[in-house]
């Protein structure tokens, strides 16, 4: 099977760097973007196998990202939202708009790997 591609959207360079490292070690190809503008630009030319995005991002929030993918690009690519305590309402609207899963900060890389694998398995079945 081809290497699966993950689009990782997070403006926190520290967390993204750790996740990037772990995801690549697990055999994924990771494309990391820092903000909403870059997400849009990326999605205009390619579609990853799964999207992992922070809910709070400059220019274009995680919520807007889900809307863009589901309503405008009409894609069912799995989306995992990274959120933190205090953002529960946003997580609910993320699910309503079509997010597949969420993981809360501080993100455990191992947990994220399990969640990614689960979403990808669902998607292939």
């Amino acid at each position: 099977m081809n290497k699966r591609t993950i689009l990782l959207a997070d403006d926190d360079a520290l967390l993204a760097s750790l996740l990037n490292f772990r995801l690549e070690k697990a055999g994924y190809t990771v494309d990391h973007v820092l903000d909403g503008k870059e997400v849009k630009a990326y999605l205009s030319h390619s579609m990853p196998d799964i999207i992992v995005s922070d809910i709070m991002m400059p220019y274009f929030s995680g919520i807007e990202l889900i809307n863009h993918v589901r309503k405008e690009l009409l894609s069912q690519t799995p989306i995992i939202i990274i959120s933190s305590a205090g953002n529960e309402e946003n997580v609910l609207s993320a699910f309503e708009l079509g997010a597949n899963d969420f993981i809360s900060k501080p993100v455990s890389p191992s947990e994220l790997l399990v969640r990614i694998a689960r979403e990808l398995n669902k998607a292939t079945i």
Binding site: A13, L14, S17, L18, R22, M56, S84, K105, S108, S110
Partner: protein, 588 residues
Amino acid sequence: MSKLKTKNLLSQLSDLEASLNGFSFEELNMEEAKALKNSFNRFKTQLNNRIYGADRIIEDDSSTIKTVSLPTVAQDNKLIAYVSHEIRTPLNGIIGFANLLREENLTAGQFKKVDAIQSASYNLMEIINEVLEYSKLTAGIEDFDSIDFNLHGLIKDVMFLCQTLIVDKSVTLTIDIAPNVPKILIGDPSKLSQIFLNLLGNAIKFVEKGQISLSVAVTEQKKGIHMLQFSIKDTGIGISSEQLGYVFESYKQAELDTFKKYGGSGLGLSIVKEIVEKQGGTISVTSKLGTGTTFKFLIPFRKGNIQNIPKNKPKPISTEKGRALLGGTKILVFEDNELNQHLISEQLNKWNCITYVTANPKEGLALLKTHKIDIVLMDLKMPEMSGFEISKSIRSLEDANLSQVPIIAFSADFTAQDQEQCYASGINDFLLKPYTLNELMIKLLKRKKERNLTQASLRLLQQETISTNEQQWETVDLNGLLEECYGEIEMLEELIRLFKQNIYEFIGAIKIAISNKNFEEIYQASHKIKAGLALMNTKGLKNLIVGMEKGAKNEELATIEQQFSQFLAQYPLKEVLIDKELEKLKKR
């Protein structure tokens, strides 16, 4: 000088008054709130009379008597010290009560107003402290420490603070310490930091773009004395040659418009000059308009020894621990100021102490005889009998159980003479107002420990000391994070680098957001930085950030500023600990 400062003071007072007027005390319906307002108004009227009254007398003199002499420095200083004392005492009460008010169930609106009172009070306190310090320095009262300190560490701390001031400017800060400058010196580190912060702070104010450098060199070395030359050079707007002659003069300083534009109390450089000269040094300035300014000062230092530097700082003690240690302690307080009476009882009651407060010496002595008092707190400026006299009469009591009671004095100002008189009157210890709750508790604990300690509290105190020692060796645990990196130390190193970068960016963003009152930005930035702090296992810092986040949500600038300043104070230590931990993991 007193006139200029007086104006400044009065405008601060008006600010404070404005916030008090905006405070709806009826809503609060609290006795203390009323006391606060009354006391404030009374003190303002008194102060107004005092200052303008004094000035008017001088003016009247000048119109009737031709040969009027200007007040001498000594008179000026005495007046300043007196007025400062008059202001500090009630201000201490105002700040203390505002602190207690914050812990009530306040509405968001009330909270904001308490914040306004607090921040106006703190501003006022800062100015008063500056005035007082200046007058003490010129009168030669201020004491200088002579302790061993690490010059490199001091400069690093100062530079860290300065870095946070320049993040929104394109200014580079450089340090150059000559290799023959001793690392450990003997002198007054806090005074030296004060000089640096003043001069560097000025440089930063006047440079938008360019360089600021701090260099240290040895110009002479004789009999173990190193004459150190410190230069602070900037590429700022410069000072014109006419103004250059006045920069160190407190009230002629530069021009008023510079004053208005760049703020400041105008005393900074004169304080710097006093501090340098009092340590046997000299200071000079050269400048060219449009090119920049260089301040150079020379101070003689002796070489110190690293072994003499104490390694740990006192650790804050929680209310719970305070209760466990002090609960049930019977404390007799001699205090005449009504506001401070309330304040001290509230503070002591928090720790479940049994408190008796009196302004009457006879009543106090009677209480001492009948109530098995553990500790006496003594205000030195009491109306009928001074604190010294009351203490003397306690010490002369026949019953040894009573006459040996520990006495802690507190006062809004304290001279070396007072200190001597304290010991002569049998006073064991003293506290300078405004004191922090921690200072009060430490003083009380120290005395209580000497007096009589139950087994249980002895154990707790031991734990306290042990954990303080542990804190000295406190580490940050990065094992978990290293595991997440599959043990790859380079990855961990990269993460730490990113972490530091994030923190610097965060500090910069918050500085700007605070000055713009951009609560949304403060919220966003605080929210973002939490993940990194969690990864690095720095819970204390994270809690401060959570506080800032809350403050941003409720739009409470004072809360944010308070939490942020604590963050700035604590972060450098954490960074050192993280670096240490990394080194340790690397060696393994």
